[in-house]
């Protein structure tokens, strides 16, 4: 942008946009816009039939384009320095797209999403819309916008693109959170909480960006890094700005002390949206965290590392301990997600020389894939266990599920063991890769805290397994709804991924190594 000033007056040099390198993102955004047009022009009964293939095909197409870019081997900064196309960003894009694809397979607008969002819960208006069979098919384009935002957020190479990506990702998610079909009060409450806290945290991010701009004179990540060595006398701007940026980013990954929104939002949101947030948003937010702290503030690591140590320890401990007291299955998984964010942060802290960075980065990338699949699978199981009032959220309703439907309970138990990091599951290799990198990066005490909180977390995972298999089912217990092919396929795919990554992790580890090898372009 600053080069514009250098041109002689009267001429504006046209910016260059590398369309081929931005193709995955453009395809997703394009499909989202087409989805909005479908909402506007297609007759009501056709919309669902158009949206589902459109959404799935665009995500699959974007994934194929990402693979092509990865094979092609070009690694540079596209769109005038706004978007980085490098190994980590391509790997993260691929991960987000696959996880989004399986999350969208869980969408079922007649079962999970509100019939008419504007109707007041319990009103005659709502009953009318239910009778009429109205559906809110807007969820598909909204999800596509959110997914496109995730892609931009995780690959942004300047803070402005990152801020725009953050908002494009978050705004549709705020709306989607409020669209649950059952327990609408909880869902609306989750949307209000997520929105107010999310807007608050992005204001912090923005002010941090303004201060960093004041320090460096640019929002380009590489130029910020250059300015760390040269600009002097404005250090206050840098430190306060970095802290505020950190608040905004740590909020998005749900690290303590900014984790309060996560359980509420995960519980209240429609479960497919929770799956999308728990997998895609977390992956995207870690992409952004790595980019800000490793690329822009990489030379400042002596200053941010002690703070991150505290945040990581607090996040792991808070996530593991508060999960024990939960009685709602989605809330428990939310606290588990907080603990996992803490484990991932130990990898973010493990910086050092290039080889060390590479090891830590590849560990984080593998962990994100492993955790993403398992968490989507777990939430898919949650959507299947239903009773008269919708999903059976309370843990006591899950008692004896293992006797009623051993297969589903067995798969869920397997997912929980993967969260705990038991060997032969993907969770074990994820944790091993991140913790090994943290040890060689000199963060051994952090790893000890991580292992201890994994042990605490294993306690409540096992408690759920015991509840499912060793207690008697209630006579009016929930039934297992296997009517949706999509949901069953998601559970099968997630279970397969959890097994394969736990038994034969090498191909994905190699892929993560290759992606991490070039580190981040600057």
């Amino acid at each position: 942008m600053s080069t514009l000033l250098a041109a002689p007056p009267g001429t504006i040099p046209a910016p260059t946009i590398e369309y081929t390198q931005l193709a995955p993102m453009m395809l997703v955004f394009g499909a989202a816009i087409v989805g909005v047009l479908v909402e506007a022009f297609a007759p009501r009964h056709l919309r669902s039939a158009v949206h589902v293939p459109l959404t799935l095909l665009s995500l699959a197409g974007a994934f194929a384009l990402t693979i092509l870019l990865a094979v092609d081997g070009t690694r540079n900064v596209a769109a005038m320095g706004a978007v980085a196309v490098d190994g980590p960003s391509l790997f993260i894009h691929g991960t987000i797209l696959v996880l989004a694809f399986v999350s969208v397979l869980l969408f079922n607008e007649r079962l999970q999403f509100v019939s008419q969002a504007a109707s007041v819960p319990g009103s005659t208006e709502e009953e009318d819309s239910l009778e009429e069979g109205a559906v809110q098919t807007e969820v598909y384009p909204l999800a596509l916008f959110a997914i496109g935002g995730m892609l931009l957020f995780s690959a942004a190479n300047d803070l402005l693109a990152m801020f725009v990506g953050l908002e494009v990702m978050s705004l549709p998610l705020y709306l989607l959170c409020g669209l649950a079909r059952r327990r609408r009060l909880l869902s609306q409450e989750a949307a209000v909480k997520y929105f107010l806290l999310g807007a608050f945290s992005s204001a912090f991010f923005l002010y941090g960006m303004a201060l960093i701009y004041g320090f460096a004179g640019s929002v380009d990540l590489a130029k910020i890094n250059d300015a760390l060595g040269s600009a002097s006398g404005r250090d206050t701007l840098l430190y306060v700005g970095a802290a505020l940026l950190g608040v905004g980013l740590l909020f998005k990954i749900g690290a303590a002390p900014f984790q309060a929104w996560k359980p509420d939002v995960y519980q209240g949101a429609p479960t497919p949206i929770t799956a999308l947030m728990a997998s895609g948003t977390l992956v995207a937010a870690f992409g952004a965290v790595l980019r800000v702290f490793w690329v822009a503030l990489g030379n400042l690591d002596w200053d941010w590392r002690p703070v991150m140590w505290g945040v990581a320890i607090l996040t792991m401990v808070v996530g593991a301990i508060l999960a024990i007291t939960q009685t709602d299955i989605k809330r428990m998984l939310a606290y588990s997600s907080i603990a996992h964010a803490g484990f991932l942060l130990t990898g973010v802290i493990a910086t050092g020389g290039p080889a060390q960075n590479e090891e830590a980065l590849s560990g984080i990338l593998f962990y994100l894939v492993a955790y993403g699949f398992t968490t989507v699978g777990a939430f898919a199981v949650v959507t299947m266990v239903r009773d008269a009032g919708g999903e059976a959220g309370h843990l006591s309703r899950w008692a004896g599920l293992g006797k009623r439907s051993p297969l589903l309970a067995g798969v869920f138990a397997f997912f929980l063991l993967a969260f705990a990091g038991i060997p032969l599951t993907s969770g074990f290799f994820g944790k091993y890769a991140v913790f090994a990198a943290a040890v060689s990066g000199g963060a051994t005490p952090l790893v000890i805290v991580g292992v201890v909180s994994s042990a605490i977390a294993a306690f409540f995972y096992v408690r759920v397994i015991v509840l499912m298999f060793f207690s008697d089912p209630a006579p009016d217990g929930p039934t297992v709804d296997v009517s949706s092919m999509g949901t069953a396929a998601v559970v099968a795919v997630a279970a397969a991924a959890t097994v394969v990554l736990g038994v034969l992790p090498q191909p994905v580890l190699d892929l993560a190594d290759a992606a991490a090898h070039s580190l981040f372009v600057r």
């Binding site: 942008m1 908002e167 929105f195 807007a199 912090f204 303004a210 004179g217």
Partner: protein
Amino acid sequence: MTTHYLVLSALLFSIGAIGVLIRRNAIVVFMCVELMLNAANLALVAFARMHGNLDGQIIAFFVMVVAAAEVVVGLAIIVTIFRTRRSASVDDVNLLKY
């Protein structure tokens, strides 16, 4: 000169942040968030002047667009919950806790 604008911007940001924490009406909380965004805009424009480049001014335009989009989404959510509960107080949204 820049310092004056920065002090004003920091004041606005703090007023906004304190407002978010202590006000009870969701609309007022949201207005306080908007105040924080505008404080950031003021800082960006002041820094653009200080550095003599246009980046900060351009970013301020982006922020305005984002803030407008946020108003659309935010008011939709707040109005929906107001219609349900006949209240926009953030103390009343207390079904989800612990």
